[in-house]
């Protein structure tokens, strides 16, 4: 169970600098928070989209979800954390209770 706000936790999962597909990050975060609904899954995906919009994570690859790992027919994104994201994350985690 994570005590961090969702967006911070999502960046924390990616903090090692490796490239991650959105569905893998979302799956991990859902386990951390004990989320089960599709609504929670989509909320976490929206968090990732907002993190990409402020350039804390960057899209590196794309594919269509043919197998239904996230939502069949949807666009899947592969992300990597940016230097700006790492800086904000280290600042955030240093002080989080």
């Amino acid at each position: 169970m994570s005590n961090l706000p969702r967006k911070i936790r999502l960046m924390e999962i990616m903090q090692d600098g490796n490239e991650y597909w959105n569905y893998d990050v979302i799956k991990q975060a859902m386990q951390d928070y004990g989320f089960q609904s599709d609504f929670s899954r989509d909320t976490l995906n929206m968090d990732l989209i907002e993190l990409a919009a402020v350039a804390f994570i960057k899209e590196v690859d794309l594919k269509v979800d043919d197998e239904g790992v996230y939502k069949k027919g949807f666009l899947l994104h592969k992300y990597v954390i940016t230097e700006a994201g790492k800086a904000r994350l280290s600042d955030a985690c240093m002080y989080a209770i």
């Binding site: 961090l4 706000p5 960046m11 907002e50 402020v54 700006a84 600042d91």
Partner: protein
């Protein structure tokens, strides 16, 4: 073969459209809020309170003291409306996590509550009380310039020429709507420095709030962040402002306990819902399209406020309202028509 780039472009387009949609919701709800926000001044116990304070301290001070009580009570219903909203969204856990993360998240919402509450709202009422309603409206319309400039310098937010032009055209539209009233008010007599200070506080307060809140929204959810911001604002009014006014001899608590009249309560419920969701929409637009664009479109509230008062109070619009409204619409389209891929990331 699926065209991935076309799908990607469509997804970006959706994000931008959603951002503009939230900003537009904000403007519409802000405009509708002017109905309960205006009506409540004519209801018990505020009429009696205004009269009592005015008889000893003058009209300007009566307006500010009454405004503080109305704003505090407005904050109560906003906080309650947001409890329902965040409850439905299942956000209580996220609220606790965000509140506890004071340094990265909640401190920015606390700061936002100071700039958006006591600075901007009080400033707006000071401008209204010591100069006039139209002056206060025009002063407040300038806030996106401060918000966009701060977001650009501080966060490196991209403000394209097209977005800047849209912001200025919407401001020009707002000034055209209220401009005639400002000239009448300024010609009416001597204007105290308190009025100008209030105008400055309104213009800078909401602009700074947007940029400060956006710093927290980098790593927090907008629905949750906004709720924390209003809980903080409510605490400022109840723990600091109202007791301070009571110590100064103003009967704020006496009148606060007299609000339990059906129509007064109904108006506060209406005000809480419209103001709460207007603010939620404002905050939700920032991570999607940026502070500058979100505030620029939300500035259409000037036009929607005038439409609300025309529809509900039967005020006859002047020709300047039509010209100003047309300018506001032109300004919005200048911003809407921006190439969505330019906004793939909002920051440099």
């Amino acid at each position: 073969m699926v065209d991935l780039q076309a799908l990607r472009q469509a997804e970006h387009g959706r994000r931008i459209r959603n951002g503009y949609m939230w900003a537009l919701f904000c403007a519409v709800l802000w405009g509708i809020w002017y109905i309960p926000g205006t009506v409540v001044w004519g209801l018990t116990p505020f009429v009696e309170m205004y009269t009592e304070v005015a008889s000893t301290s003058g009209d300007g001070m009566a307006l500010i003291v009454t405004a503080v009580l109305i704003t505090a009570l407005n904050a109560v219903t906003v906080v309650l409306a947001l409890f329902v909203w965040n409850g439905v969204l299942g956000n209580y856990g996220e609220m606790i996590r965000t509140a506890k993360s004071f340094h990265p998240c909640s401190k920015w919402f606390l700061l936002a509550s100071v700039f958006g509450g006591p600075v901007a709202i009080l400033g707006s009422f000071m401008a209204m009380g010591f100069v006039g309603g139209a002056f206060a409206a025009v002063a407040a319309l300038l806030y996106p310039v401060i918000g966009a400039a701060l977001a650009n310098v501080w966060h490196g937010e991209k403000i394209s020429k097209r977005a800047a032009m849209g912001i200025f055209v919407i401001i020009a539209g707002g000034i055209t709507i209220f401009g005639g009233g400002v000239i009448t008010e300024l010609q009416a007599g001597s204007v105290g420095w308190m009025g100008y200070l209030g105008g400055l506080m309104a213009a800078t307060g909401w602009g700074i709030e947007g940029a400060v809140a956006d710093k927290g929204l980098d790593v927090a959810n907008a629905d949750v962040g906004l709720h924390l911001r209003f809980i903080a604002e409510l605490a400022i009014w109840i723990i600091i402002a109202l007791p301070l006014l009571a110590i100064m001899g103003y009967p704020v608590f006496t009148y606060a306990f007299q609000i339990f009249q059906p129509l007064t309560i109904l108006m506060f419920v209406f005000a809480g819902i419209t103001f709460g969701f207007c603010y939620v929409s404002w905050y939700k637009s920032f991570p999607l399209i940026g502070v500058g664009r979100g505030q620029g479109i939300a500035n259409l509230y000037g036009m929607f406020a005038v439409i609300s008062t025309i529809l509900f109070f039967g005020d006859v619009p002047q020709w300047t309202v039509l010209v100003g409204g047309a300018l506001c619409i032109v300004g919005s389209f200048i911003m809407f028509s921006e190439e969505s891929l330019e906004l793939e990331t909002l920051r440099n």
